[in-house]
Structures are given as structure tokens and as C-alpha cells.
Symmetry: C2
Subunit: 478 residues, 2 copies
């Protein structure tokens, strides 16, 4: 019993210290472990299995739009990285440099990819000749390295896993359509699978990707009212094509530059799952992404027939759900705590009394509601419960976000809101960098995006009072 | 017509120059492209899709044996790499070193993982405490880097993709059983999915992995009579456990060292697929691994109804096969050449005359046999043809290997065989390093393995004439 209490006590309450709660959850749910390499985390089985499911779902959606997977080298020669001016300025300060191979110094140092635009451009300049070769819709699943000063599991680490899509198109219109299409793929995936509602919009010039014409983003609101950029999609126009000389002959036999995009989502999104859905008992995983959806926990498993019954139920459910039996020699209470800590969507409690009554108790992780279910209906009921839970989780997340989304029409109101009400603040903006900088300096809030769904809150910029061009979502962010 | 001839002419015949044939195939089938980074290749969609299928098949088999996936950092601090003496000696000369992060030099340099034993040991020393924590059966899919002097696509490149399994067990017996189990998983996969028969055996001390007690290997014979080591499984005993202090308390509450294994298969196996099954028209992919199994090629596709019919057939087959329609504006002959170059197992030719006769022509890639099939039976027949092709490919590969496996009882016979008959040579060995070295120096053949299936060819070592301990497969190798 002492041991059982320990597991639960060990988590800091999210209301006491949200950052510590987060750290406790990622460790106690065994998602990650720290490694001997500063800033690099180890993805343990519970954490990696979530990423595998994310990969499976996203990869399927990418391929449905015609995307093909490839694998590019992890190293980029310094001269290649330098070909596009804005891009190298953005990334050179934060890359890891390989200077020796075996026992010899290298003639040219290589950086470990922080992102692979330059390598894809190099490839496209070799394999794109004619309009028949377009579009190229390539993606890779890999890890990238960015030499960060401070790191946090999933949210910011020196090495992280992601996918990076890189496309080349004949026209500017096609590139723009692809940029938006992939942002929509991300947003739909987050809402339908991860139960996280997203604000879709465009980044300001200050916040856009190094080398991009425009960057689109999906932004989510965490439980503590801070924003998390969850996926981005960039339209490069023909800037990289000029830098890398990627040209094709069109149908009139004239040379044209291609138009390019890139788009990425990373293990960072696992941080969003934790911070949107988690509670003081640990992780709460949306059923559609949970590596284990159902944990069957036998009660009094030493009694005759109980374990057998648990396996029998597993056998019944295994074709429809990702289901396991916890047959370890721990007490049921300890197993409940572990199932809750790991965020497994439902547990099924089955003991001698349940067996007599031909029933089981199904417990939802999110609401802790206990539902007595006849064993004859178990499969149908579990499906219903998981579907309801998935829907409820999205609705709760949306309600939380909406309740923490504010409007500001004056600068006083803006500053007060950011200072006292964690969440998004919607406010009008003149479009000038000066105002964006001043807001950040005065409040630490940054522009999250210029949402596709615009509202006209007033005619003037919330900061300088000059005519407003656009409404912006502002917020403190991870 | 000139263009069509060009595609085919561009491949060197394998009998003229096998190495050039290989290079031509990997390029013309668009499996890889060379990159701006010396020795690193780009896996293009046709190549990466083969790897994705290999991953899917292997991953499923791993998980069926209880293995869980994780992800470890790509960097290893120099001090960690140095903890196990044999291991660091084996790998330090061929690793890439990161010496700078961002603009700063690092206090301790990091190597890019050439393999991850040291990182897994570091993790296990933190998370293994009790016998209840064992076994640990972890695997990761990642890329590794080895600073090779000369490189060849798939066979030897500076960076390559692989999986590396790392397990920790309570007893030596369990570790040994796991080592053999995973070798069998590899061998079964290669035979049943890749149609490549394997010799299973143990490596000599000279050829075993740096730090291992014993290394098991599967060895395949390529079309040119050279051997290819295709997968390895290592038993480390408790050597790493001592170096990294990985201990657990057993049921009697006594501290014990764990026993460990590791096992890996890489993109190198794609080289084996090419060199075992390919022919002078290009790649020949076994149906079970082919990313596209069936290519439908419309004949006279400008004629009314032909393209529609092709799509209709695709619709009929798509639930059972990976099937595509080549509806590009190239000529049928050009499309045939491409399908053959890419090794797509069967093509279905459908034109106006076929439509009138309610039939299609199915052409096997391996034998080029043309089979006229009624459209009413298309699905069944295609399945039969693919099954037969898969079986025939394995049988042909086995027959080729057996026809190129020789026995030698005297050293003269041995030297003549290696010099004149490319293939495996079976011969007895005394077990001494001196003889193994002399054989390599005299003939360039190396010991491939001491096969599990031993035969007693004679009583004496083929090299020194002293009493023989074991039969060895020898051969020139990639």
C-alpha cells in the first residue's frame, strides 16, 4: 500500500507547478529517459509507441495525397548549407559540426542536418528536367539536430524525430495549394486523431521559416494557457530554385524555375498531447492514438478462473482494439495507478463477483466514470465508450481553449490580459515589425498567427493605434 | 524507338562486368542517387519503398517475439564509447566526430553512432534493478555512420539505415537462446519474403563483432559467386554488463550481472535482393517485397475504352495486390522496359483486341512467360502467378547457390577452387587464426561462417593438415 501511494504522490499537481507536473509525467509514464548526451532524450517504449502511431496515421494521409518517401543523408556540407542566404543565417548558429572522420580531419566540415531543404534542392536540381518530372512530392522520416541552449523533453531537444516533406511544382499556384493542403492534413489529423483543436493561420514575417516566402502554422493551447506551435507548412516561392538552379523546360520548351514547399511535424506534438489532455493522475491518451487502448485488470487474480477469464476477454477484444492484460504480481490498486499514469483510455476490471454476474466494470480514464457492462455486450460497449471519450476529449479541449481566448481593443486591455489571463489574445495589428517587437518586449507574448478566419475587432492596431491590417492571435508560447 | 533502345542498352550485361551492371541497375531503376556528401547515398522512392516493406515485415516479426521499439540519441560521448575496450578498438577508427555545437567548441567530442551498444548499456544500467525488470527486449530503427574509405550503394556506405536490437537477460542461457532466435527470424524472413536462401552459422573469433562473445551470421551467395553477410546476431555474455555495471537483484536478493545480445539487419540486404535476383533487363523483385506487384499497361491507350478498362482492372485487383496503371504518354514498349528495369513482378497488358476477347496478357518478370488470362479469372490467376514466381525465385537462388558450393580436401584443391570457381568452398579447419590468415592472404577468401549444419569432409585442416575442429564456409565476400 505504501508503494502504491508513492506512485501517485510522486506527481506534482499541475495547479501547483505545471512545469514540474509535466516533467513528472514524462518520466513516471516512462515516455522518456534522459541520456548521457546533454539535451538528447531517450524515447522509451511507451513514448516511442505513440510516435509510431502518429507516423502510421500521418504517413497514410500523406500517401493519399501522392507523397512518396525517401531518405536523404544526415550530413550537409557547409558550402551547400550556405547556398541560400536567409536559410544559412537562420540555421548556422544552431547546428552541430562534424570536423573529423575516423582519424582524419575533414577538408570541408559537415553539419548534422537541422532540416534538409538544401539536400532536397540539390537532388531536385539533378533529377528535375522537364515539366513531366513535376510535381515532386517527397517526404522523409528522420531525426534532426539543433544545438539548443535549454531543452525540455519533446518540446525542445537537441535531437528530435520528425517528418519533413519537400515538394517542387511547375507553378506558384500549385505550390501555394500544396502548402495549404498539408497544413490542413496536419490540422485534421490533430483534431480527429489527437483530439486537439487547432488555430490555422499564417506566421508574421518575423516568425516565418528561414528562407520561406510564407509560413503557415497550426497553434494549440495547452492546459496552462500557453500556446504550442504544432506543425508548419512553408511556401518558398522560387527562392531556393534560383539559389540551387532548379529549372525545368515547360510545354513551350522554355526554361522555368520550380516553386517549392516544405512542411513538418515532430515529436513535439507528443508534448501537446500531454499538456492538453493530462491530469494530476498522469497522461490521458486519446483512444485513436493510444498504443494500448484497453487494459484488462484481473481482481483477485489468484482465485480460480480469474486470469483465464481475463485472457478470454482479451481474446474477444483483440481483433477490434489494442488490448492487454496486466497479469503482473502487483496489487489491483497499483495496476490502476499505472494504467492511469500511462493514460490508457479504459481499463476493464474483472473479478470473481463480476464473473458470477456475467459482467465487468469498464472505467474511463478521462472522467473516471465506472460503467458496468454485460460480458455479452463488452465489445460493442467498449467501442461506444472509446468513441465517446475521443469526442469528449476534443470538446473539452475546445471548450478550454475557447474559455481562454480573449479579445483586446486597447493596449492596456492587451497588457492586462496577457499578464493575468493565460491564453490566446486576439487583437488587431498594423503589420509593422516595431509593434510586434514592442508587444513582445512589454508582455513576452508573441504573435502566434494571422488566422485564416479573420474577425474585425476594431479599425486600429492594438499597439500603435494606426490603421489595422489584420487580426492576430497573440500568446506566450512554448 | 531510339529512346526505348537507349534505356535497355544503357545497362551493362552482368556477364561482361558485374560491378558495372550493379551500378547501372541501382541508378536506372531509380533506387538511389548519389549525394553531395562523399559516400552517402540518397534513397529515392523506388529504393525507400523496398526498405519500408522490409521494415514492416521485420518489425511485425520482432514484435511477435516481444520486442519493443525505442529511440536513442544519435550521438555518443567519447568517454561512453571508451567504456568497453574491444568495442572502442573496433569502432573508434571509423566514426565521425562532432566537435562544435553552434559557434562553440564542445568540452567533450561526440561521435555519431556507428552502433548503439554503449547507449543501450547506459540506459539499462539506469532502468534495470530487479529480476522483474528483465528481460529488456528493445530495438530501434535508425541510421548509423561508419567512415568507410570506399563505398558502394547499399553494400557499403558511410551512412546506412538499419535496425539494431539490444536485449538484456537474467541468464546466459536466455541470452544465447535470444541470439539464435533472432538469427532464425532473419533467415526465415530472407527465405520466405526475399526468396534468398541463407547459410546460418557462427563467425570465427577473427570475424566476430567488437566486444561480442560470439557472433552468428546469415550468409548469402550472389549471382557472381561472391558471398554477402546479410544479418548478424551477437551474444555479449556479461562483458558489457561488467563494463557498464548493469546489475539486478535476483529472486534470492543477490546482485547479478545481466547477459546481453544485439542483432541487426540493414539496407545492405537490398544489395542482396539486386545481386541474387536481377538480370540483364534490371531488377527482379520477389512479389512479397515488391512495392508495386502488378503494373497494368494499356496498349493503344488512345483508343476508346482502353484506359477506362485499365482502371477498372486496377479497381478489381487493388484489394488483393499493390497495383498501378502506367497511364503516362510513353509507348507501350518503353513502359515494358521501365517495368522490367524496376523489377515489378508482373505486368498486365490490356488493349482493344484483349478487350474484345475478354482477356489480358500477364507477363512474369522473371521468366518473361506470357500467360493469356480470362478477365473473369484475373484475380485468382495473378495470385497464382505471383505465388509461383515467389517459389521459383527461391528455388532458382537455392539451385544457383548449391551449384556454386564446392568442397575442398587439400590446399591445392582449395586454392584452385577459389581461383577458378566463384562460390562457397566448404573445407575443414583446425580453429587456428594462423590458418585463417594464411588462407585469406593466399586466396583473398575469408571464413564466412562455421555453419550450424556441420559435415565431416575429412579429419584434417585443409590448410595446415593438423586435426580439424570444424567445417567452415569460405568465400570471397562483399
Amino acid at each position: 500500500m505504501a508503494k502504491e501511494k508513492k506512485l501517485v504522490e510522486a506527481i506534482t499537481s499541475m495547479d501547483v507547478d505545471f512545469a514540474q507536473w509535466y516533467t513528472d509525467v514524462v518520466k513516471k509514464a516512462e515516455l522518456i529517459d534522459y541520456s548521457s548526451v546533454r539535451g538528447c532524450m531517450i524515447l522509451r517504449p511507451n513514448g516511442y509507441a505513440i510516435w509510431e502511431n502518429i507516423q502510421k496515421e500521418l504517413d497514410k494521409r500523406f500517401k493519399e495525397t501522392g507523397v512518396e518517401n525517401v531518405y536523404m543523408p544526415m550530413f550537409i556540407p557547409e558550402s551547400l548549407l550556405q547556398k541560400e542566404k536567409d536559410h544559412v543565417e537562420g540555421f548556422a548558429p544552431e547546428v552541430a559540426w562534424v570536423t573529423h572522420g575516423g582519424l582524419e580531419p575533414l577538408q570541408e566540415r559537415l553539419c548534422v542536418r537541422p532540416t534538409s531543404e538544401t539536400l532536397f534542392c540539390d537532388l531536385y536540381s539533378n533529377i528535375v528536367q522537364s515539366y513531366r518530372d513535376l510535381p515532386k512530392l517527397y517526404n522523409q522520416w528522420c531525426s534532426v539536430v539543433r544545438w539548443e541552449k535549454t531543452t525540455r523533453p519533446f518540446l525542445r531537444s537537441m535531437e528530435f524525430l520528425w517528418q519533413e516533406g519537400h515538394t517542387a511544382h511547375a507553378t506558384a499556384e500549385e505550390a501555394e495549394a500544396r502548402t495549404v493542403q498539408m497544413l490542413n492534413v496536419y490540422a485534421d489529423f490533430c483534431e480527429n486523431v489527437l483530439a486537439i483543436p487547432m488555430i490555422k493561420g499564417r506566421k508574421t514575417d518575423k516568425e516565418k521559416f528561414a528562407g520561406a516566402h510564407s509560413t503557415y502554422t497550426i497553434e494549440a493551447l495547452m492546459h496552462d494557457g500557453k500556446a504550442l506551435q504544432s506543425g508548419t507548412s512553408h511556401n518558398f516561392g522560387d527562392g531556393f530554385a534560383h539559389a540551387f538552379n532548379i529549372q525545368y523546360t515547360d510545354k513551350e520548351n522554355k526554361l522555368q524555375y520550380v516553386h517549392q514547399t516544405s512542411w513538418g511535424m515532430s515529436t513535439r506534438i507528443i508534448g501537446a498531447i500531454i499538456m492538453v489532455h493530462g491530469d494530476d493522475s498522469g497522461l490521458v491518451l486519446p483512444p485513436r492514438i493510444a498504443p494500448v487502448q484497453v487494459m484488462i485488470i484481473p481482481i483477485a487474480q489468484h482465485k480460480e478462473g480469474v486470469l483465464e477469464k481475463a485472457y478470454e476477454l482479451q481474446g474477444k477484444l483483440v481483433s477490434s482494439f489494442r488490448v492487454k492484460v496486466d497479469d503482473s504480481d502487483k496489487s489491483p490498486g497499483w495496476k490502476f495507478s499505472e494504467q492511469e499514469m500511462r493514460g490508457i483510455p479504459v481499463r476493464i476490471e474483472i473479478g470473481p463477483k463480476d464473473m458470477e454476474a456475467n459482467q465487468a466494470v469498464v472505467v474511463r480514464r478521462d472522467t473516471r466514470e465506472k460503467i458496468v457492462v454485460s460480458l455479452d455486450e463488452l465489445e460493442t460497449k467498449v467501442q461506444e465508450i472509446l468513441d465517446t471519450m475521443q469526442k469528449d476529449m476534443l470538446e473539452r479541449a475546445r471548450a478550454h481553449r475557447d474559455a481562454h481566448t480573449y479579445e483586446a481593443r486597447t493596449y492596456e486591455e492587451f497588457k492586462n490580459t496577457v499578464a493575468n489571463k493565460p491564453g490566446f489574445v486576439k487583437a488587431m495589428w498594423c503589420g509593422e515589425l516595431d509593434c510586434e517587437m514592442k508587444i513582445k518586449e512589454d508582455t513576452t507574448a508573441t504573435s502566434r498567427c494571422m488566422p485564416f478566419e479573420q474577425e474585425k475587432l476594431s479599425d486600429t492596431c492594438v499597439c500603435c493605434g494606426k490603421p489595422a491590417k489584420t487580426m492576430v492571435y497573440w500568446g506566450r508560447a512554448y
